[in-house]
């Protein structure tokens, strides 16, 4: 697995490629007409499960809640055999230690949001401390937010430097950079943010915090996948993608996989390079998997809500 680094030679981000929204919508509509059935559906759904960052990011989170979620991460649906575990648990920095303990050596990673998530409205010093705290507690992955205010004001160097500084603190932890695309307003801006983050050292680029709508629309994710594609062609460095927020149905998740497959190819179709940030997606996928096997939909009461 290659890791990204902060690049010294960087392009002028004002010259990031433009994106035509109508064209993107058309392309995305084509992904959605793909028919995923039978064996390919079962494989796809299992892949979706293995790519989930099971998330709880609430003010009312407690160690108890986090422990329950960690158990769910390892035992998605015991009645069904051959299921993968999710990729990671995503929590606030204060919950990292608890999650690390609960997950033990299950192989499931702990991701922590940081940098004054979700608004990012704080000082650099605090953001660095926030990240350091999560890393010290054992976080395997850091989900930072960019300063959208600075970005929209055109201060791209500030945004770049901030990401680079956080990257340094991350050490071995992989860095995911959240743009909060619902606040960026246009696909041109999404593309520019993607370029800045990747050159600054992001290992993953991520659409949203889940706190603002619209979040991970397919249009936004597609724009970011195209940016990853160009970056890989130019630098030879792979960057992962994490759509987060708003993906709660199996169908939409499968269409996301179709989009990844047809844009970046098979190398990105695993949880090293693609993740879903979601809290309610897992149960819908489980329900579909049981339906594929038994031919019947079960009531939601048969699937645990943690």
């Amino acid at each position: 697995m290659n890791r990204n680094k902060t690049f010294k030679n960087i392009p002028d981000f004002k010259l990031s490629p433009t994106v035509d929204k109508v064209g993107v919508e058309e392309r995305v509509a084509r992904f959605q007409t793909r028919s995923i059935k039978n064996e390919s559906k079962v494989q796809g759904l299992k892949m979706v499960l293995s790519m989930i960052d099971l998330t709880t990011l609430e003010g009312k989170d407690t160690p108890g809640k986090v422990r329950q979620l960690c158990y769910k991460a390892q035992h998605l649906h015991n009645m069904q055999e051959g299921l993968p575990t999710v990729a990671a648990i995503c929590v606030y920095p204060t919950m990292v230690a608890e999650a690390k303990k609960a997950l033990g050596n299950s192989g499931i990673r702990v991701a922590s949001v940081s940098t004054a998530f979700p608004s990012g409205q704080s000082t650099m010093e605090i953001k660095l401390l926030d990240t350091q705290f999560a890393v010290d507690n054992g976080a395997d992955e850091i989900d930072m937010v960019i300063s959208r205010g600075k970005f929209l004001a055109g201060e791209y160097n500030f945004v770049f430097d901030e990401i680079a500084a956080i990257k340094e603190v991350c050490g071995k932890a992989r860095l995911k950079v959240i743009f909060e695309t619902g606040e960026l307003a246009s696909l041109d801006q999404v593309r520019r943010a993607s370029d800045i983050a990747m050159y600054a050292g992001a290992d993953f680029i991520k659409t949203s915090t889940g706190k603002i709508q619209p979040a991970a629309t397919m249009q936004v994710t597609y724009t970011m996948l195209c940016a990853i594609k160009d970056f890989y062609r130019k630098t030879g460095v792979k960057v992962g993608m994490k759509p987060a927020g708003g993906i709660s149905s199996s169908k939409l998740a499968l269409h996301n996989l179709v989009m990844v497959k047809e844009t970046l190819g098979n190398d990105w179709l695993n949880n090293d390079w693609f993740r879903f940030g979601a809290s309610s997606l897992a149960n819908d996928v489980l329900m579909q998997l049981v339906k594929q096997e038994t031919g019947h939909y079960q009531s939601a009461d048969y699937f645990s809500i943690d």
């Binding site: 490629p17 433009t18 994106v19 035509d20 109508v22 064209g23 993107v24 058309e26 392309r27 007409t33 793909r34 028919s35 995923i36 059935k37 039978n38 064996e39 390919s40 559906k41 494989q43 796809g44 892949m47 195209c226 594609k229 890989y232 062609r233 130019k234 630098t235 030879g236 996989l257 497959k261 047809e262 970046l264 190819g265 098979n266 190398d267 179709l269």
Partner: protein, 495 residues
Amino acid sequence: MTKKDKHKEKAAFDFNGGWDYSPSPESISHVKLKERYDLYIDGKFVAPNSGKYFQTTNPATEKVLAEVAHADESDVDKAVKAARKAYENVWSKLSAKERGKYIYRIARLMQEKARELAVVETLDAGKTIRESRDVDVPLACNHFFYYAGWADKLEYAFPNRAVSALGVAGQIIPWNFPLLMAAWKIAPALAAGNTVVLKPAETTPLTAMLLAEIIHESGLPAGVVNILTGYGDTGAAIVNHPDINKIAFTGSTNVGKIIQKAVAGTRKKLTLELGGKSANIVFEDAPIDQAVEGIVNGIFFNQGHVCCAGSRLFVQESVAEEVIQKLKDRLDTLYVGDPLDKNTDIGAINSKEQLETIRKYIQIGKDEGASMYESSCELPKKGYFVRPTLFTDVAQSSRISQEEIFGPVLTIQTFRTIDEVIQKANNSPYGLAAGVWTDKGSRIFNLTSKLRAGVIWANTYNKFDPTSPFGGYKESGFGREGGLQGLGAYLKIER
């Protein structure tokens, strides 16, 4: 190999194998094709006078689908007489509002049978089910709906002019969009108050015959629409019949020229929609990823069997390498195969004859020294298929960049300045369509006024709508179909 090159080599994408889509064929159980289709003349399905039938096959499997009547001169005469009688006695006497009602009824019946029409179109023409389901059939219905609305508003369509129907229209349509072309022809003719004798192409007669059944079911008065299947001789009999007032033809430029000669000196009105070699122009400031999609859609839509296909790509030199690289990647993600599978992007070539034509041009391209790239996909063992193909290092003087191939073959040339590309784009005997890709609005308007093409798309390609006129410059034909202009082509407009 320099270090930089090595780097590039490594950064490749793997689009083959891995997680893939299981076969997802559209069900054909709801479609019952007859063994034999007769001619539709004067409101009845009748056997041809000659007693001759020919077979129509599925180009994806090479299996025979049905037998279809071969109309000769005497059948054409019978149909024209029926159309004349219906025009004089019934259709021209009917109130315009009633005429409109019939056209609406045909549109609604087509919508009801949309699934059947889509499947039969795919079986007979080899085009993908995704396209016949999402493009051909809905658009065909929309043409009937659109022109139905004009039927009782003709004097408002052309204010302060006296408009009247022409009489009997003879219409000959091609095999690339069989049902859609029938709709383009029949709907405006009926709305304007004419009666019709229509001949579908010999390789794709089935949806026209289903349309005949729909028209029959709609209760349209006998003789208003007559549909005759057959070969070129049937078409010639229609063109040469003395009692026809208007000929509308869509097809090859060669046949168009023959028709124009035949009609010269008669009082027949003529519209021709012929071939093309349309330029798709990508500037360096274009949204590149979307432009690549547009290029793909421009040339590979309907296996490239599109008269307005963007078959000549012009890319500004500064972005040529990037665009070509992305096109190659994109080619590898196209699914070629069973047209009935919902995931197929590129279906079968319409006929063996057309397959040979395309292969001939690919060979010409190689002989001319152009560099060829074709996608790596597997082709089905049976049926007529071609891999989507690109040619780079093509010159303006190459035959493959001058002649219409009518298949999934794209030629790519680079350019440096705007004047150069305008000159090259216009330097063709054709002038049907063009595409312009740029982020700059002023450049779009500059080009639309300078490119000699009937349709110019900006930052998109192959978009069709019943309200928008379609037609060409130069050897791409004359007259317009669609919109008000398409209505005017079926009217005598005086004062």
